[in-house]
Amino acid sequence: MSRALRIAAVAALGLLAWQALVTLAGLPRFILPGPGRVFSTLWTSRALIAEHALVTATEVLAGLGLGAALGFASAILFAASPAARTLLRPMLVFSQAVPVFALAPILTLWLGYGLWSKVAMALLIIYFPVTSGFFDALMRTPPGWLELARVMGAAPGRTLWRIRVPAAMPGFASGLRLAAVYAPIGAIIGEWVGASRGLGYLMLLANGRARIDLMFAALVVLALLTLLLHAGVDAACRRLWDGRGPASAR
């Protein structure tokens, strides 16, 4: 209850500051519309915004799911195989040297204007944090557990699966929490570069037609989507994996 109250207080303060800025600076509504105007547009254009929001949400969720699965698998591969580590990890780091933004036009060229170029963008942007967070955790298994497994006569594969992976899940979770915030960025960039649907597309369209209130309404929905996604991922991670691994090992 107090948490809900705190969130409401923060939101109210933010809206108040927003309105104060508009009123005191005398900003015209084609530069920064007030919250009242944005929310009334949000209501009147709700069907339009919802349609585009659904597209963006699909892209984000697909990118998040695929990126998390790919990151999970890659980190395990790196942890299990020194050869893969030597050969592929430098490529992983190098891939981060190329700004994902710069790849957007290429992905649009290859994958088209539809859903998949945006899914690929979201995937690319979250792949690194998920993989490296999980990999680091896999390499930091408390040595006592590994020694116990060795004395017990465990095969390396089973030690990986039964001890190192479960112990590293908090690391995977922290990568996933970051990914929940990054994935929408990837999808929106993808939509800016070339799309006919989605909140990013709607914002560009509204901007072009000087519908700044609609642009802000789409932005508000996008921010809410991201917050919701982060809260959902956070809650799931907390429920599944908190209280494990090195942090809780005595």
């Binding site: 116990l148 017990m152 089973r158 494990r244």
Partner: protein, 240 residues
């Protein structure tokens, strides 16, 4: 299961620094041997060499079982840290070895062992819901589950309060009877209670000290136990 004697002779180094040795350690088969010594003398490193965990330590010498067969797969280890996996309940922790070897977990036997260590009602609890003493009992059940003739104990009771420690000592002495136990400790009272054989490890090497006649676990308040404990402590103090 006949428990073999243990013999270790040699020197261990990390880089150019001597960790211990040259030492000769002999632990009779099927008996409880306490290896007592001050911190930093290399007791734990010696135990780890026997367990085959000497990574980073160069050991020159021999580690042998009295029956001539290799020690591989005949050793169980219990450490000061209970090493329970926090995401598994007590029963699953006890059967960890079987899972790690790809065998079906022997659940009935795990429950029996948990009952033996007094945790029959706690099989479904995770480590965070157990006290330190209870966690160490689960670790003892896990060690017994391995059913190895040689059991290496690395100060397993030293983090417990005095009462839990005495209880764990009695429990372990009963349940590990008949196995070759090598128990590393820095506690003279513990060595005086538990050792069939007591070895004092100092920088000068390993020397046996004859314990009282009474069979372990000896009463902690018996005059002979206390006198022996006092004597051990004096030798510890006088060691370099």
């Amino acid at each position: 299961m006949t428990a073999p004697a243990l013999r270790v002779a040699g020197t261990a180094r990390i880089g150019g620094t001597t960790v211990f040795g040259p030492v000769v350690l002999e632990a009779p088969g099927g008996r409880w041997t306490c290896l007592l010594g001050p911190s930093g003398v290399g007791k734990s490193s010696l135990l780890r060499v026997i367990a085959g965990l000497g990574a980073g330590v160069a050991f020159a010498g021999e580690v042998a079982a009295g029956d001539g067969a290799p020690l591989d797969g005949r050793v169980a280890l219990m450490a000061q840290d209970d090493l329970l996996l926090p995401w598994l309940d007590a029963e699953a922790n006890v059967t960890l070895g079987a899972r790690l070897r790809g065998k079906a977990p022997p659940r009935a036997r795990a429950r029996h062992l948990l009952a033996q260590v007094g945790l029959a009602d706690h099989a479904g609890r995770r480590p965070h819901a157990l006290s330190g003493g209870q966690r160490q009992r689960v670790a003892l059940a896990r060690t017994l589950m391995e059913d190895r003739p040689v059991v290496l104990l690395d100060e397993p009771f030293s983090a417990l309060d005095a009462r839990s420690r005495a209880q764990m000592q009695d429990l372990s002495a009963g349940l590990l009877a008949g196995r070759t136990v090598l128990h590393v400790t820095h506690d003279a009272a513990e060595a005086a209670r538990l050792g069939d054989r007591v070895l004092l490890m100092t920088a000068a090497g390993i020397a046996p000290v004859d314990p009282p006649e009474a069979a372990p676990p000896r009463p902690f308040d018996a005059p002979e136990t206390l006198a022996f404990q006092g004597g051990l402590l004096r030798r510890l103090m006088e060691a370099r």
